[in-house]
Structure formats: C-alpha cells, structure tokens
Symmetry: C2
DNA sequence: GGACGAACTTGATTTAGATCAACATTGTAT
DNA sequence: ATACAATGTTGATCTAAATCAAGTTCGTCC
C-alpha cells in the first residue's frame, strides 16, 4: 500500500524471508516509526536498555563496545540492514553496546512491545523472526571463524575484497578496530595493498 | 507422555522457550530419533550436507573446522545442548564443519523435512525456533567479543572460571585451539594457573 | 602388561603485530 | 581563510604468543 520509500524498502527486505498478507503488513508496518539521526549522533549508549529494533533505510551505523576504555567496533550497518543492541532488546536488559551514526541516517524503528505483539499475533512475523535470527547467527558464525583463523593481513585483504565501499564510508581507525588491529597496522597494510 | 529420559529431557529444554500442547508435542517428539555415537565417531564431516539437527542428551560433541590443514575447535556441546552444522542444515548446503563425539554420546536427531514441517504446522514450534535462534546468536555474539578483546591468558582464565568441568572432558589440545592458542601456550598457562 | 602412538611438557628462538613517539594531513568550527 | 583538533602516517622498539625441538607421560590396543 505504502509508496513511502523507507516502508517500501522495509517491505521488500521483510518479504524476502516471509510472506505477510496485506492486512498483516498494514498492521506490522504501522508499528514502525521513521527516525533520522545526524552524523555523530548516538542511537543507543552502553548502560541503557534498548527499547527499539532498527532498520537502516539509508546511511551507516557503527556498533562498538568500550573494552577498558578502548573503543572496539563490533559491526557496521548500512542500507537494508537491521540494527540494534540485539541482546538488550530481546532480553530487555542493560546493554554494553554503543551504536552511533557514522553518517546522516534514516531509520525505521519498532519498539519492544509492538514487536512482541506482532510475534504473538502473526505466524508470518514469527517466521520472519525465526529466519532472520537464523541468518544473523550464520553471519556472526562466519565472521567469528574469519576473525579467528586469519592473520591481520588476510583480514585486511578479505574486507577489501568483500566490502571495498566501506573504506570510503568509515574512518579507518574504526575499520582497524573492527578488524582487530591497531590504526598503525591498518595504515601500513593500506599502503601496502592500496598504494599511496 | 513419554517417560523415556532423552525425550523427557528434550521436552524440558524445548518448553523453556515455547509451550507446546500435548498434541503438538506428541507429533513433534515423534519426529526425533534416538542415536548413539561412540567416542571418536564423526557425526558430520566437512563436504557433506547436514540433514539433521541434534539434541545432546548425554555426552560431548566437538565442532571443528580445518583451516589449511589445522584442526580448529569451534565449540563443544554437552548435555542439553542442541548441536549440528547449523548453516548447512538450514540452507541444505555443503558444510565446512566437522562434528565428532569426544565421548560416548546419546543424541536425538530430527531431519530437515520434519523440522520444516513442524515449523509450518505449529506456531509454537516456529516460536521455539525464533527464540532458540535468538539465544544462539546472543551467545555467539558474546563469545565473539570474548575472543576479540581478551588476551590468551584472560581467555584461559575465563574458561577456567566459567566452565571448569570442560577441562576434564576434552583433550587440552582441543581446548587450546578453541581458545585460539597453541597447545604449548595452553600447557604453560595450565601450569601457571592450576599448578603442577 | 609391554609397546607404540598420541597427548602433553618444557626450553630456546622467532615473529607478527602492538606500543611508543614524532610528524603530516584532513576536517571542521569560527 | 585560519587554526585547532582529530585522523592518519611512518619509523624504532618491544612483547605476547607462535614456532621449533627434545623430551616425558598417558592411553589403548595386541
């Protein structure tokens, strides 16, 4: 029904995993609220409880944790990704994640109560949730093996090959911590691999 | 209805996440098949497609991948854990995981078609799947941060504190690779931390 | 119960990547 | 446009953990 780009976008992404009837979609989509965050804004801070689950329509978010004072990037979300402090949202407990906009970003968000109501009411949404979670966990699993088994240089190469666009979007100190190396090491590899 | 320990055990674990009616449980549980594997037996090998999803009633399984010839432990499953080459099962694609029994083990297993039929037929099972997946992904996420942010020594300490029993169950070369260190390093830490 | 291979230990050496330090460049606010 | 802070670069040094190399102990199969 919607001709609103963010909602159309969400619909396309949701319907890849589960089919919602028009009625279900109307109800489900009405629970999502459009939000904008400016570059540098915090979406959620460690110590808070996450009340929302997010869909990134346009822009980039960065998730990070502070590990004895050190800012360590855990992941990035761009267009068409869902994002949020997932464990905190699901368990309505305090998070130790921070999520910050790396660029001006347009989000849709749904709050915890609405999301749970949707799971209760519609099997199609429950199915979406099951498959979505499965995909996320497979992705995290892959990344874990990635971080585990490859050297700093291999990790750099693989990111460069798999997500070259991110090198433009995100300051390299964040990419460095995401890849589990210092900014100095990142810089040296960059020179080695990408030239001056 | 069952008084069979493995099935009772499965029921208890499943019902923690979602409530199944007696009818649903009768159907669902009938799809699970009891299997025994002896210490050393392979449950699934890299290169195969995983047709089953497992519940460990009793015993220990080890999941590992070969990374240029090196055996790297990815995780262990003991009593009450589900196990399997999860991405391969869900996507019915070739896996690069190996799963091997570390001790004589009693499993229940369900095949892909039955599992999908259960998801289709019962919302309660779909719900179980959603929440189960969510819990697994939260767990993997935590472990990722663990591996990422702690030194070899800290990882050793944390495993020792959180899962002391595993030191008895699993050969330490496997624990070493699980913790991302060599057997030599593991052995030195062991001496340091646990004495002669 | 001996013996063979696998698992573990211990020490010496090497190395990938961290840390430290100084400087260069870029971005942003006034 | 200027200037200050944040980000990135480059080189020198340091260090945690890997690798290499012998042993020793343990488990299990005839």
């Amino acid at each position: 029904m919607s001709v609103d780009p963010p909602y159309d976008h969400l619909k396309k992404v949701v319907s890849r995993l589960s089919e919602l009837s028009d009625y279900e979609w109307a109800d489900f989509s009405s629970r999502w609220q459009l939000t904008r965050v400016a570059k540098g804004d915090m979406v959620i801070r460690a110590g808070q409880t996450e009340h929302y689950f997010y869909f990134v329509h346009k822009g980039v978010l960065r998730a990070y944790v502070l590990h004895d004072g050190q800012d360590v990037s855990v992941g990035f979300s761009y267009d068409s990704d869902f994002s949020g402090a997932y464990d905190s949202f699901l368990q309505q407990s305090v998070t130790d994640w921070n999520i910050q906009a790396v660029a001006d970003t347009e989000l849709l968000r749904i709050n915890f109560e609405d999301m749970m109501a949707m799971y209760d009411q519609y099997k199609s949404v429950e199915r979406w949730g099951r498959i979505f979670n499965a995909n996320v966990l497979i992705g995290i699993g892959r990344r874990q093996i990635e971080v585990r088994n490859y050297s700093a240089e291999e990790r750099f190469d693989r990111l460069l090959r798999q997500s070259p666009h991110i090198f433009q979007l995100v300051p390299q100190k964040h990419l460095a911590s995401y890849l589990g190396m210092t900014p100095e090491t990142f810089s040296r590899m960059r020179r080695l691999k990408m030239g001056k």
